[in-house]
Assembly symmetry: C14
Homo-oligomer: 89 residues x 14
């Protein structure tokens, strides 16, 4: 196989597996946060507002972690800065 | 095997395994969220509305994580940007 | 072995193993959701309606995750878009 | 070994192992659901009807996941669509 | 080794290991269900009838999962449909 | 090594390891069931009869799973149907 | 190495490791059963008799699982039916 | 493959997998912190202010750990100091 | 290496590792049983007698499992029945 | 590949993976500490001051552990003392 | 390497690793037993005597399991019965 | 590759991975200790002094364990005593 | 490499890794025992004496298990009985 | 590579990894002990003295286990007794 084939192939595999792995615990953490929010709602229905605000900020911060992985996966798939070392020389 | 064969084969395998792995913990997280929602319903039936709203937003955010993996799997299967490096030269 | 043999063989294996893995935690999550639903029923029999509705929406969303894997497994088995790169040239 | 031997052999192994793996957590989930149903029965014997209905729908949905794996295993063993690429050319 | 030897040998190993693996969690699930049934009996001895009915249906459904594996193991050992591709040509 | 040696050797190993693995969780499940039965006895000594009946049916069903593995191990050791493909030709 | 050496060597290793593995969870299950029996004794000393009976039947059934493994290990060490295929021809 | 290809390829893979792994437990920790915050809110709604402050400082410190990994991943992808040893000589 | 060396070496290793593995969970089970016995003693000091009897029978049965492994390890080290196939011919 | 390439490549991979692994449990520990702090706040709002002080000192000490790994990763990436043995001779 | 070197080397490694592994769960079991004994002492100080007796018998039986491993390790290091097959011929 | 390259490379990798691994459980232990300290503070605010003293001594002792690993990592990176055997002869 | 080098090298590695592994669970067991002792002290301060005695005997017995591993490690490092087979002939 | 290089290299790696592994559970055990001590302090502040004494003795005994590993690591790095077999002949 040529160099480019190896590069494209393994980048693809790494991108997809990295994304799959990097999504696991954020999903779990979201599940846990939502589960606590529902629990809190059931105990203090009148505090719905501050519960909601806390939950959404939390979910956003967890989502940000999964986005880091997504960003790096997309950089690798669409615009890998290390590619220029391979094409130029 | 030719380069293309390797590429197509391993991309296929990575897509299917990545999807299978990336679905695991989101499913678990959904199970946990739903389980808490049912628990909350049993304790505060009159708060059904805000429980439902919180649950659906939560499920949607967890689903989004699984969708990230699905999107990357579909990009790899149908329109892999790294393929053009392989075909042109 | 010819290229096609490898391709068909490994796609088959990946499809079946991916399906088997991708079914694991959705099944667990369903078990958990149903278990909570039964628990909620035992505590609040009169809330059966909203419990049922929540449970079925939840099961459907979890099932959707397993369906993603099934869909990709069937795409791979019956109509793999990457196959055309192998047959044409 | 000829191509066909490899294909038949590894398909067989994948089918049996995939089935064995894909049955694990559905079985666990069923155990959990039944366990909760019995618990609920002990606490609310008069709600037997709705408990039973929920349990059976739940078991059926979990069973469906195991059936997905069984279906793909049987497709692979009896009528693998990828086989035609191997036999024709 | 001849092709047939490999085929027979690895099929045998896969059958026995697949059976051994596929029995693990169904056994665990049964243990859990029975354990809950006994618990329920101790709490509500007068509900013995509906507990028993639920337990037996549950055990039968879990057993069905182990039977799927057994069936595929026996198909592989006694009448593997993929064998005809090996013997005819 | 001749074909027969490989076949006999690996069948033997698979039989013994498969048996050892297939016994693990059934044993655990039995332990759990017995443990619950003793617990139930301590709480409801007068329900001994129905507890005993439930326990023995449960143990028998778990034992049946281990027997499946034993049966396949014995088939492999004493009368493997795939052997005839090896000896005749 | 000659065929017989391989056969004797690997059978020995499989026998000892299989025995060691197959003993693990039965031991754990016994520990659990005994632990529950002692717990039950402390709560209901006057039910000692039926507790003892249940415990001993349970221990015997768990022991039976370990005996299956022992039997197959001894068959392999002392009188392996597959050996005759190796010695005669 | 040339040296540069190996370097670029494996750096890419390490960056994406490292990011995916390094995100796992921070996500879990965030989920736990948010979950406790919601719990605390439900118990002491009037302490919302100090709860919020503690939560945000905590999330920031956990995020900092994930940022360490992100920084090193970006250094490796865009400006690896060890690259100069490879290009100059 | 000669055949005998391999045989003696690997038998030795298997014996020691098998013994080490086979001792793990019996030890754990004993710890659990003793722990329950002490717990029971603290709750019902006057039932010391039947607690002791139950404990010792239980420990003996767990010990028997470890003895199975020890016996097979000693058979392998001192008087392996499969050795005669190696020495005679 | 030249020596330098190997060195630079594997150092890079080790740095990124080491950082990713070394961040896992510190993140978890922080999550646990923050979670307890929020719990303590909810129970004793008036002790906010000493809780905060303890929490920040604790987070700093956990952070210090992650910093150790970061420091060694940066030493390896930017100024590895073992490099001089490679360049001089 | 000569046969004797391999034999001595691997026996040494097996002895030390087997000992290290075989000590793990007995240590855990002891910790558990002692922990229960202290718990029982705190609840029933006046039953110190029978608690102590039970604890010491238990510790001795757990120790016996570790001794089995130690004995086999020492047999292997100092007086391995399989060595005579290697030296004589 | 020359000897020195191997030595420098693998020492670097071992140092960074060892540090990363050796930091894991100390971090966890710190998290646990801090968590208990905060818990204790919430229950006995007036015992802050002795709680603080105990916590700091404990954190210092746990930190000492991580320092052992750091020290050995730095010895290996900066002043490895085994290097002189390599350079002199 | 000469025989002696291999022997010295692998013995060293086995000694250090065996020691590291063999220390793990004894440390855990000690932690558990001490933790229970402190718990018992807090509940029954006046039973300090018998608690202390039990704790120290327990710690000594757990320590003895770690000492077994240390002894074998030191035998291997300083005075391995199997070495004489290597040096004499 | 020369013998000495291998020896120095692998000893270094074993020392650092062994230290890293051997520190894990002692750290955990310390965390657990400290955590219980803080718990005990919060419940019985006036028993601070005997709690402290017990804690420090316990921490010292756990530390001793980590020291065993450190000692062997330092022996290996600075003064390995097996080295003389390598240098003299």
């Amino acid at each position: 196989m040529s160099d480019m084939t190896w590069f494209a192939l393994l980048s693809t595999i790494a991108a997809i597996l990295g994304m799959a792995i990097g999504v696991l615990l954020p999903a779990y953490a979201m599940g846990r946060a939502i589960s606590s929010a529902l629990d809190a709602l059931a105990r203090q229905p009148e505090a719905e507002r501050s519960i909601m605000r806390t939950l959404f900020i939390g979910l956003a911060m967890i989502e940000s972690l999964a986005i880091y992985v997504l960003v790096i996966a997309l950089i690798v798939l669409f615009r890998n800065p290390l590619l220029e070392y391979l094409i130029k020389p």
